[in-house]
């Protein structure tokens, strides 16, 4: 009992996972009994429901194709809004791996976003456990459990919502805290490199993270001003370089995708 109290982060993350699994099991019933009318309505009036409709359907279908062994679409297709985001690529690969092991099923597909969201919650709780008081672990755990309804839902739709990019951001934030709290210059730069590379990857993963990047820039500038003299300004060179290194896959993939095809996606 004392062990559980000592690591409340694990307990909160486990309850987080359990609630989501319960949701999956509770809602499994309807998947197999959609009638043709509904299917055709969904297919034709895609945008009548919400913006994810076409996006998630296409991307997840492609992921299933990949799991079956069709690799042709990976060569030259833009997988989301005309731009190349790494999120789709990574999730395709992850789902294909899971589907090879567990088979092509609903649970296999949903396991990827659930895994990501649980890891995000766990990383957040561990970060709080290390940096702040234990009181905050319980507060955050309770808030994470149901959170906002939109937060709850976002953990289930892998393609489109990109809940999982929070995981990148938290790792990047840990690097930033290493940079902020250490007095050793080498360790400061190590923290800045971790933060930069992971932030670049997160921006490659999805462009939505730019909000966090603005936050990150503000955090660094405030830290530089407040700890004037104790922190090297070299970080202003190191961090952008590390960010570019993390963002390199974008240049590689965007070179492979032609403009013609990205426009064809939208006509």
């Amino acid at each position: 009992m004392r062990g559980i109290l000592k690591f409340p982060a694990w307990a909160w993350a486990a309850s987080f996972l359990l609630l989501r699994l319960l949701f999956l099991v509770a809602n499994n019933g309807y998947i197999f009994d959609l009638d043709e009318q509904e299917i055709s309505t969904w297919l034709i009036d895609r945008d009548s429901h919400n913006v994810y409709f076409s996006e998630e359907f296409t991307t997840t279908s492609l992921a299933r194709e990949l799991a079956r062994g069709n690799k042709q679409f990976l060569d030259g297709i833009s997988l989301s809004h005309g731009g190349v985001t790494g999120g789709e690529y990574l999730q395709f690969l992850l789902y294909a791996g899971v589907a090879r092991v567990l088979g092509d099923s609903y649970y296999a597909m949903k396991s990827v976003p659930i895994l990501f969201s649980t890891l995000t919650a766990l990383a957040m709780l561990l970060l709080v456990q290390v940096c702040l008081r234990p009181l905050y672990v319980h507060l955050l755990g309770l808030l994470l459990l149901v959170g906002f309804p939109s937060f709850f839902l976002s953990g289930f739709s892998g393609m489109g919502n990109h809940m999982e990019m929070g995981l990148f951001l938290i790792i990047s934030f840990i690097g930033l805290i290493i940079w902020r709290r250490s007095s050793n210059v080498k360790r400061q730069m190590l923290g800045a490199v971790i933060a930069g590379v992971v932030a670049g990857l997160s921006y490659f993963y999805n462009f939505l993270t730019f909000v966090y990047l603005l936050w990150l820039a503000g955090f660094m500038l405030i830290g530089l001003v407040q700890r004037k003299g104790r922190i090297k300004w070299l970080v202003l060179v190191v961090f952008p370089l590390a960010f570019t290194v993390g963002y390199l896959p974008y240049f590689y993939l965007s070179g492979k995708v032609s403009v013609e095809m990205t426009n064809a996606r939208y006509h």
């Binding site: 509770a26 499994n28 309807y30 998947i31 197999f32 959609l34 299917i39 969904w42 297919l43 429901h49 919400n50 913006v51 994810y52 076409s54 296409t58 279908s61 299933r64 042709q72 679409f73 030259g76 297709i77 809004h81 005309g82 597909m109 957040m124 709080v128 702040l132 009181l135 905050y136 507060l139 309770l142 994470l144 149901v146 959170g147 309804p149 939109s150 709850f152 839902l153 976002s154 919502n161 809940m163 951001l169 902020r180 462009f207 939505l208 993270t209 730019f210 909000v211 966090y212 955090f219 405030i222 407040q226 965007s254 070179g255 995708v257 032609s258 064809a264 996606r265 939208y266 006509h267």
Partner: protein, 236 residues
Amino acid sequence: MMVSLVHDTLDHEDEDENDSMQKTAAEPKYFIGYYKMITQMFYFRNAFLNGAFLLLLVAVASAFFLNSENENDTRVIGWSAFALAVFYIFVVFLLADFFDAPLSPHHVKGCRYLAPAFPFMLLWLGVALGQLRLQMKKHYRLLPVVVLIALFALGLFGVAPYFSYDQPGEYRDLPGFSYRTLTITSADYFLFLSDSGEEGLRHYLAGCDPAYRDEIDQEIKRLLTDLAAAPESDAP
């Protein structure tokens, strides 16, 4: 999109399949496509339209909070950030569309742009509540606990509609919830890729789930007959 794709493929029906594939492969490729930059601007605009500026306020406050070395300095910031957090959560719950809120019918569309910040927002809310608990006078220390319980109950209330006890899985509008009936969209992509029209669809259907093959087959037939009846000028 689907209709126009099918139409395009009907136009190119006479061409050899290999020729069209080679044409696709010979298209110019760019190191950084111009279209991608436009895409990013689209994201920025929508993110700010959906309330990212509020997030930025919270972010700056939290940056001050986390940068400070003395916890006593953070009292004012803690209070202001608590107000911001409460206001922000109010906005998020409105966007969450409990009761068909008129504010945003596309609730997930709105919240999507805040998705990377959700864990940080919850952390910030927890920190603000903890600060209140530590700094308040004796008689008022129950207030943050009440606020926390109220928020938890509100979250449960928001999530509860997704669990149905008499008809499991009744909640159908959850985006990306089912992936079993998506094959026609994948067929779109097959058309888009192979440019081989009905033959390509047949080839695709050979590999798809047998339970849905007939339905999709009917759907394709219906689409093809509709397109044959439609005038050519309708193509975008």
